[in-house]
Symmetry: D2
Subunit: 379 residues, 4 copies
Amino acid sequence: MSDKTLTSAGFYVSAEAFVPTDNPVPTPSAPPPEIVRCAYMEIVVTDLAASRAFYVDVLDLVVTEESDDAIYLRTTEEFIHHNVVLRPGPVAAVAVFAYRVQSPAELDKAVAFYSELGCRVERRKDGFTQGIGDAVRVEDPLGFPIEFFYEVAHVERLAWRYDLHTAGALVRLDHFNQVTPDVPRATRFMQDLGFRVTEDIQDEHQTVYAAWMRRKSTVHDTAMTGGEGPRMHHIAFATHEKHNILYICDKLGSLRLSDHIERGPGRHGVSNAFYLYLRDPDGHRIEIYTQDYYTGDPDNPVVTWDVHDNQRRDWWGNAVVPSWYTEASLVLDLDGKPQPVAPRTDRSEMAVTIGADGFSYTRKSDKDDSSEYKLGNQL
Amino acid sequence: MSDKTLTSAGFYVSAEAFVPTDNPVPTPSAPPPEIVRCAYMEIVVTDLAASRAFYVDVLDLVVTEESDDAIYLRTTEEFIHHNVVLRPGPVAAVAVFAYRVQSPAELDKAVAFYSELGCRVERRKDGFTQGIGDAVRVEDPLGFPIEFFYEVAHVERLAWRYDLHTAGALVRLDHFNQVTPDVPRATRFMQDLGFRVTEDIQDEHQTVYAAWMRRKSTVHDTAMTGGEGPRMHHIAFATHEKHNILYICDKLGSLRLSDHIERGPGRHGVSNAFYLYLRDPDGHRIEIYTQDYYTGDPDNPVVTWDVHDNQRRDWWGNAVVPSWYTEASLVLDLDGKPQPVAPRTDRSEMAVTIGADGFSYTRKSDKDDSSEYKLGNQL
Amino acid sequence: MSDKTLTSAGFYVSAEAFVPTDNPVPTPSAPPPEIVRCAYMEIVVTDLAASRAFYVDVLDLVVTEESDDAIYLRTTEEFIHHNVVLRPGPVAAVAVFAYRVQSPAELDKAVAFYSELGCRVERRKDGFTQGIGDAVRVEDPLGFPIEFFYEVAHVERLAWRYDLHTAGALVRLDHFNQVTPDVPRATRFMQDLGFRVTEDIQDEHQTVYAAWMRRKSTVHDTAMTGGEGPRMHHIAFATHEKHNILYICDKLGSLRLSDHIERGPGRHGVSNAFYLYLRDPDGHRIEIYTQDYYTGDPDNPVVTWDVHDNQRRDWWGNAVVPSWYTEASLVLDLDGKPQPVAPRTDRSEMAVTIGADGFSYTRKSDKDDSSEYKLGNQL
Amino acid sequence: MSDKTLTSAGFYVSAEAFVPTDNPVPTPSAPPPEIVRCAYMEIVVTDLAASRAFYVDVLDLVVTEESDDAIYLRTTEEFIHHNVVLRPGPVAAVAVFAYRVQSPAELDKAVAFYSELGCRVERRKDGFTQGIGDAVRVEDPLGFPIEFFYEVAHVERLAWRYDLHTAGALVRLDHFNQVTPDVPRATRFMQDLGFRVTEDIQDEHQTVYAAWMRRKSTVHDTAMTGGEGPRMHHIAFATHEKHNILYICDKLGSLRLSDHIERGPGRHGVSNAFYLYLRDPDGHRIEIYTQDYYTGDPDNPVVTWDVHDNQRRDWWGNAVVPSWYTEASLVLDLDGKPQPVAPRTDRSEMAVTIGADGFSYTRKSDKDDSSEYKLGNQL
């Protein structure tokens, strides 16, 4: 990381640049659609009632509308129709990652951009789900099902309706996280699509283990995590404060559902946010997240973490559970069939660090971290 | 407000439109510069040591650099050189409201835009303050001194340096607030400059008492408050959580400086943020602010509050102290002389509501609010 | 306050002593009952349904049992049957302040103690309310209806049932507050009853405006506030954290019930607790309170505040609303008739300070506080 | 647990009783001293400067006085001279667990009580440490060094000095925790000393793995943890809110000292408190703790947890790190020599549960918890 500046906090900063990759997706000549933000995810679940109990009764997402075929959910500060669609199906998977674009005209750009890449593209003037108008769905070059839309029904933003908020209120959809075998290839493609890189994890050989990228002015609208893919790693919702996240844990304990807690709560190194990872009844991973930082300036510094920095994924050095690295949700093609999964092409973050396990350092200067009290060192 | 939709929370929403005004600033044919966000304020103080004690020792802003002539301060998550410049002078005033633009080329646009309006424009390749390069300052048509810049020195973002954060850490510059005699005229001009309106306060005669407008995806980068102007109403910094704001109050009490607390803490109706207003040693007003909502979608609904809604400025119906309506800081012209102040052209919010005083309603349906326990009803 | 030690925070500390009074209640030769803590209050309300809506639907107290004649409510961490009884009646008033004693045998002591004072005493083996066994009620020498009991039905402590907790959960009954014309007389009587003084407010003439006293190891189980009495000033419930109290304000705003907020939220000088005062549908005052300090040591220092210290009742110097000084609830005799109210015998705190109004000081050294921005100075 | 009542939260409650033990310490005929609360711990450290850096610069305990021989530390709300004495020595150990008693006369009772048991007893009229007067130290029947004192220098309670508080301020000493081979024997002895049992962990064979007991009205002043002993498991300090504990973690990350975090943060099942365990430079364990519940009623229900309940030690089911079960600090005899350590006599909690590892249950009804995402299930 000789071209980067070491900060006093232990990570590196540098100016954003196109990510080098030896296996690039071609850059289309057509301009990409102007994306505003991640907007919703359509999730296939195997037992709609069980999922409703989790997303509505436990997580307290707001039901915009529901039927036997689908439940449309939103966060308390959302004014568009939904942030999540739950749809019953035979195989738990993600049907689409949906982004809102800046204007109706961006849909034509999306069609041209992906068509030039030879991707399968489908457009429906009346939308693919309730509440959405003209929309384009594609199977992107990385194998993910992506939707772009502008037209959407407005619903009441319940930000001021504190009487309806629970102690763990989810206020915003924050981001998606995708698993892909070749992170530089995927990240470079997303840069072509207009995403800005904010943070990444690398090793001394410039192996990139994960990268975070944004359209709105937060750390990310999506991230690329290295692993067998294409798969969906998680969908993240924001709370206002940290105690809201702790309450969700407390409530899961009270309901004797604490085994839905997979990792955390903790403080991320990457993003500086406070986090919690849950697993829904089908194993789909949900992050609850709060308090990352503003990234909207054009020259926002890119933060690079050393994969051997024990605080990169948990600032407190707490262990990353293996399933967090290995498990993820299948994604569907536009016919609703699961996309085949390809293996990781580069080295695995878990293999080189095994969580917070003593193959990483807390203080880079230390020869020997054997004195530490972490679980990874004790197993 | 017959053209607007009443929400269940008591305010109205509508689609954004150009604000009607019978006294518009002409719309230039030149395009406006693309503004990223409010970036810093240069504040003239009469006793630099006393101001340093307040901004650095009490509010814990980070000193980027300082001399006898100026102190450059930033928030903990900032990576540009400064968010505040304190400069000693004979008259307490605001020397400039500075915005960051999207690229160096925007400065040419700023020159053309304001020149067409006949405004005084000054450009310095080496900047007007430390840490800033090429910059343009103007006296805008509303009488405010405004700076635009792109080039700026990067400094370390201290977001991860919790060891340096106090319990009241100010993490971001959030917004400015300006006092102007004619709010629709000012707001319409800001729309021409590329700002988006997010909220306003009106009465049944469409008198506009205040309006909030944004470039970044928060409720505002600046607001226009009706009153004698041009003056600076306040500069606002964000904390992560509400307890950080309460701590600032607690600390002021411990230092026997509680008389610097002018209003709050409380919950705004407008913006839904938690707030506190302080006055610095010269009387410059500072807001501490947290947890408004995302506004970045192109069709973000505009929120309109009834000036007679007792919860519009404090969701808990607590009184607005008269000085908050009447007092504000002078602003300087580009020669450093105070701009003359013109009187409010429309009706005064204080005159029609007198804070939370019983001339307003808590429940619109109530004929008589005389049973309430608010200070305004008891004086 | 020449015999007291001035602290760096601006108040005084001294060793606890019997409070001097020129009009004492005789000290009985019989020992007082050993009181454990304040336990419940029986409150007469004029509209039981309206009160239920407030205490249960707004404040989220837990219903232990209810009928047309009474609603029994408890806090989330309580294991005895109730902390509040709401009972319908023609006049809003307090029927009893109830204390739990250390053992069944303490009831005999209570009978002897009050009988020696010539007070009216009534004992019921089956209790005066549901859930309580053997109990003694008295009209005490200050005119207040007081109950002592040991036997009580146990109910489930819902501390771990986070799924049932709202964001403003009330976890404990903390204290009562009584209005009495002669504070030293009342305080000295309470000392004879075994209470320990923790804090008081005095002036330079040793006029005592209010005193706080405890049995359990918090700042108080009850306080004596100077004014027309006997009356009930407030009943206070504890939350875990400050944000829980802010949420209650937010929720009241959402329900368009913000006029139930009388004073605060704020930080007390006395007790150092974070507070909020509400008024129920009958005007009974309720405090929500959190984070005072441990007082259980036998030599816990008594804190004395100067009545002219502007931060004594609000550490941030925010104004005390006049109704908070003047309004309070009637109390009943054992026949259920309102006790007549006698006027304040000493000077009134409001008269000498008028809230946070400039007749008080923020910094004792200041000749002139006229520069401050407080509402009191602006009206 | 057939004699206990199962609650809706999954644990059991029962009336307090003397703990049965087949190997009791004889009950003295002399009455025990009346203990007020745990008051301070004297800790021997091998590098006083390193320990000062941890306790003062990282944990922000207040220095009452210090020399080359000792550092006297207190919490922000303490008014007695110290809660911790750090003293340099060749072997890291605990020199004394000190309790405050109700009056000077209690010291005579302490001498008689322990003398009757044949324990070594030492009394010093001028105290064993700075700031303490007449004091008695004993080697108790369980092998622990215990001090009793009443006389102590008062220092300023800094509760109101928010300007001195950091975001992780430790406000009170909360409790000690001791490791002992035979928990029922130790608990029964503590009952004879006047302690009240509040919670314990048992299995279906009535094996007691740990017990919590109190003098003040919190869940404990000390606890007995089963294991090789006598050893000191931890000393615990309270914060006001949960975010204060999270801040301590964040700060440790910033200082690259996250390897001092051993376990947590998390929510205890036992005590319902929010917690964090740290290890100091010598490996002494420190708990940071907030928000347990009031226990001061004479019939406070005893809570019993099933050792197989996965949420007993962490309500969120997160794993207990092995070192937390196995490591602890030596304790000294009155000559300053380490007490020999005897092995656990009963079954080991770690052996029967291995943390949160799938040998325990989240829902008792589940045959198979194999679907859960906990680290214990993945290693």
